[in-house]
Symmetry: C2
C-alpha cells in the first residue's frame, strides 16, 4: 500500500481521530510529512479535520474514485485488486487492461475509469458511461481454463456483483442470462468477458463490469429509459461508488477462489437461484436464426439449455435471449 | 497490386521477354519509369536482363521475400493474402498481426518475417527462426466461429500446408495432432492458432505458421537435431521460399473457403488420412496429469479422442501427445 492508502486506512480505523505522532510512527515518516500528506488528501476532496485534541479525523470522502482509497478500503485479497489504477477517462477499461496483460502484468490488476469514450457491451455494442455516475472497471485474470470454460468467469462475476449490490444498497438484483443484472426488470449492470487464448489454453481473461449507480432518469439516453435503471433510481439514495467498488472486488476475489478450489458448482447454484431466465419462455436470436422455447437450466460450462417449441434441447452459448412476458 | 508487383507479374508471364513499350502501356507509366523500376528491382536482387531485341527478361529472383513479388505470384485469392507485408525482423509475426487486428485491419492480411527474435510455438514455447532459412508467417482471419470451433482453423492450416509442401517439394508430410508436420518422423513445420474472443464469439484469429525450409543440420540448435528437420534436408534441394509461401497462402485460401461453405468435414477427412496420431498408442501429458492410451479419432471440433488403458474415452484438446514407437 502507498503512504496515502495507509493514512486513509488508519483514519477509517480510528473514526474518533488519530494523532499525528501515532501516524508518523506507524508510517515511519516525520509528523511534518504526515501533515503534508493530509494537505494533499484534502486537495483531492477528503474532508480531514485536525486538532491538538483528537488529532486527525476523516469527516467525509469525495465521490471521485482514488486508487489509494480503494486499496485502503479493500485491505488484503488473494488475487483481485492486488493492483488498482483509476483513470479520469479511457476509451474502454477493457482496452487498458488488454495492454497491461500484453505487457505481462500479473492477474488481479484492476482498472477503473471515471468515464469511457468507447465503452462497450457484448457483441460490440456501445455502452453509455457518463462521468462519475457509474462504475466502469476491468479485472485481469489468468485462469487455468480452456476457452469454452471462461463462461464460468461471467457466472462468478454476476454472483459477486449481485452480492455486492445487496450489501451496499439492500437491493436484490435478478440475473438475466448470460450477463445482465436487472432491478424491476430493467438493466442496472452488465458484464463483458473477453479473452486472449490459444485454441486449447486461455492466456488471459478480462472481466469488464459496468454498473449504473447514481444516474437519474434524465442522465439516461432516451432510448434506454424504458429498459435501464440505476441503483439510485431504485433505492432512492445516492450510493457511495467507492464502497460499492470495494465490495465488488472483495466478492469477486472470493468467487474466483471458489473456481480455483473446484467449487464452481456452488456458485452455479447461487447463479441459477437468482436467474430470471431459467423457467421462462424465451425468444432466442442467434445471427439470422430465431426460435422460441423454454429456458430449462444451465450446463456445466454455463451454456443455457433451451427446450424449443418442437421439443429439441438447444445449447445456447451466445446471441440474444429475450424474456417473454 | 503495386507497380512492382505488376512488373514482376508481367515478367513471369513472359519468360522470353517483354518490351519496355508494352510494359509502359500496361502500367500507364513512361518507359523511363519502367526502366527506373527495373533498376530498383535489380537492387533488391532480381536479375533482370534488358536488350533492344527481347526487351526485359527475368533471369532469377532473390531468395529474400518481397511483398510485391509474393502478391504478383499469388494473383487473386478470395481472402488470404489480400494484403502482404514482409519484415526483415520482428519479435514474432503473430505479435505484428495482433496489432494489425486491433487496428481494425481486414481479414486475409499476412505478415512474413525473415527472422524472429521471439518466435514462439504452442504453450508459449520458444521457436527457432534463423534468418532467411525458413518461412515464418501469420495470417489474420475473422471467422464466424465460437472459441471452441477455432481448432477447425488449425486443421485447415495443416492440410493446406501439407498440400503446399507436396506441390513444391514432392514430399508427403505426416500430420501429428494437433499442429505439427513431420517428415521421416521429425518435425518440419508447426502451426500456432491464437484468438481474441468474447466468451461466445471470436473477434479474430491469428494463424502462425513456421516451416523449416533451407536449414542444414548445422543450422539446427543441438537439442533439436534428433527431432527436427528441414525441407532441404529431406529433399536434398534448396527450396524457393517465395514459391512455397505463395503455395501455402493459395491452399489456405482454398481451405478457409471450404469452412465458409460448410465443407469442413471434407477437410477433416483429408486431415485424418494424413494423421500419424490416429490409430497409434500415445502418452498424453496435460498439466501434471499423464496417461497412456490409443488415439482413436478426431471429433467435430478437432479434439482428439483417446481410449485410455482403462477403457475410458478421453477428449483431448490440449497438452502434449507423444507417439509411442
Amino acid at each position: 500500500m502507498t503512504t496515502d492508502a495507509k493514512i486513509l486506512s488508519a483514519l477509517r480505523a480510528n473514526p474518533d481521530g488519530v494523532s499525528g505522532a501515532q501516524l508518523a510512527e506507524q508510517l515511519a515518516i516525520s509528523r511534518a510529512a504526515v501533515w503534508a500528506r493530509m494537505d494533499e488528501l484534502r486537495k483531492v476532496g477528503y474532508d480531514i479535520e485536525a486538532s491538538p485534541h483528537f488529532g486527525y479525523k476523516l469527516v467525509s470522502s469525495p465521490d471521485a474514485l482514488h486508487a489509494d482509497d480503494l486499496l485502503a478500503r479493500l485491505g488484503n485479497t488473494k488475487v483481485v485488486g492486488r493492483d488498482i489504477q483509476v483513470f479520469e477517462q479511457t476509451t474502454s477499461t477493457n482496452d487498458v487492461v488488454e495492454r497491461l496483460a500484453r505487457d505481462g502484468v500479473k492477474e488481479g490488476a484492476v482498472v477503473f475509469a471515471e468515464s469511457q469514450t468507447k465503452g462497450r457491451g457484448r457483441l460490440g455494442r456501445k455502452w453509455s458511461s457518463p462521468t462519475h455516475k457509474g462504475l466502469w472497471l476491468s479485472v485481469l485474470l489468468r485462469p487455468d481454463l480452456r476457452p469454452q470454460e471462461t463462461t464460468q468467469l461471467t457466472v462468478i462475476s454476476a454472483t459477486a456483483l449481485r452480492r455486492a449490490i445487496k450489501t451496499v444498497t439492500g437491493l436484490s438484483a435478478d440475473i438475466k442470462w448470460p450477463n445482465d443484472l436487472l432491478l424491476g426488470g430493467k438493466k442496472v449492470a452488465g458484464i463483458l468477458t473477453e479473452m486472449s487464448a490459444e485454441t486449447d489454453r486461455v492466456r488471459h481473461v478480462i472481466i469488464g463490469i459496468g454498473v449504473d449507480v447514481n444516474q437519474d432518469a434524465s442522465d439516461l439516453p432516451g432510448e434506454l429509459r424504458p429498459i435501464a435503471t440505476s441503483l439510485k433510481m431504485e433505492s432512492g439514495d445516492e450510493i457511495s461508488r467507492a464502497e460499492l467498488a470495494t465490495e465488488v472486488l472483495r466478492e469477486l476475489d472470493t468467487d474466483y477462489a471458489r473456481i480455483g478450489t473446484g467449487k464452481f458448482p456452488e456458485v452455479a447454484d447461487e447463479w441459477e437461484a437468482a436467474c430470471v431466465t431459467i423457467g421462462r419462455n424465451v425468444t432466442v436470436h442467434i445471427g439470422n436464426r430465431k426460435f422460441r422455447g423454454r429456458a430449462e437450466s444451465l450446463d456445466d460450462d454455463g451454456a443455457l439449455l433451451v427446450r424449443t417449441e418442437h421439443g429439441h434441447l438447444e445449447r445456447i452459448t451466445g446471441g440474444d435471449v429475450i424474456l417473454e412476458k
